[in-house]
Subunit: 204 residues, 2 copies
DNA sequence: ACCTGAACACCGTTCAAGT
DNA sequence: ACCTGAACACCGTTCAAGT
């Protein structure tokens, strides 16, 4: 066949197909992508830096939905809260992609820009420099930990069927189905923000 | 050859070899395990439920190091803190195994027993039932998020080499090398515990 | 530049055949 | 019960050959 007059593939369609496969099956493969796009496996390699490259495309696609306006809100704690919520929501839209992104090393300058902005905000508000990275790291951990939780099957938290965990079973029943993950994140986020406010007050 | 008079393989050696490979390369394969143990790939399947089974063995090996005595400490917040620290330390010993465990569904009754104990503790101390799972979820997210951070290369946090993130670069320099992850976890944990204490006081 | 077809090394898993 | 050898379907990746 040789080169077609109009390209059969492009990054956008490759990314979308990969994301479809991940949403459906929790994983993707390059042959599967090629098959869905009616093309040979090798063709995909003309557009993308292998499997790792496709994972970076998925990361870019997901993180594009993080709202940069969140970090511009005032006061600073509202900004941090909005950022964390938007960050988490972006992952929540495609929970099964999360483990894939975790496995691979980050190579996205866009992500670093977010962090630079966050550092600037916290310094401007008066946080001592040595506190800034631990604080951002803590928030990041919280969001990522919660994202993993979204990806995990709810049944991971199912009480043992043999009835050996009765209290866990009751505690799970006490929180509306599907709300546990959100409520857990909300609790952790509130705790984080309150602690950050306290830290700033003591430093200021 | 047929069956040897003494078994060449056992679960312990399979688990240890898998863990070695993960520590060295961030992943394992069954052929690699077989090769290190001087045995055919197919032999491994006589001992283990495939790759997923080996991942569960890794999970059991790591979580065996979580100290159950932590949850027996008093007061309750010291118990939760000790549990979280021990839980995280178990993962920190083999950070590259963390993403592997995240990918797979948990099938370990031992883990559930920990959670049952935690629920019991929080209820006994007076937390309202609907708060218990969000609280435990929050702590779990925190530990897992931090564990992922340990697995990630420190270079993930390296500032852009083009100097586009000067504040991030300075903030990173302000925290001792290799201490960022620990300090972030400590911050989040303190925030969580303080918020939990406040929640209990308001409920009680 | 972009697609095909064929190739390579690797993987997970199964199974009949041996002791 | 436990190991071997061979097989199967799948994977990621490369490359010469075509237009």
């Amino acid at each position: 066949m040789g080169r077609p007059s109009k390209a059969l593939l492009d990054l956008d369609r490759i990314t979308s197909t990969a994301l479809e496969l991940v949403d459906e099956h929790g994983d993707f493969s390059i042959p599967q992508i090629a098959k869905r796009l009616g093309v040979q496996t090798a063709s995909v390699y003309h557009h993308v830096e292998g499997r790792a490259g496709i994972i970076e495309l998925l990361r870019a696609r997901l993180t594009a939905d993080i709202d940069p306006a969140g970090l511009e809100l005032r006061p600073w704690d509202r900004a941090m809260e909005a950022w964390a919520l938007s960050y988490r929501a972006a992952f929540a839209a495609h929970p099964r992609a999360v483990p894939l992104l975790m496995m691979a090393q980050v190579a996205a300058p866009e992500a670093l820009a977010h962090y630079e902005r966050a550092v600037e905000l916290l310094l401007a508000v008066g946080f001592p420099e040595p506190v800034v990275m631990p604080l951002i790291t803590a928030l990041d951990n919280l969001v990522l930990g919660s994202a993993i939780d979204l990806a995990a099957p709810e049944s991971m938290w199912a009480p043992a069927p043999d009835g050996s965990t009765p209290l866990l079973a009751r505690a799970l029943d006490a929180v509306p189905d599907g709300r546990r993950a959100d409520a857990g994140f909300a609790f952790a986020l509130e705790g984080f923000l309150a602690h950050a406010r306290r830290t700033l007050a003591e430093a200021g």
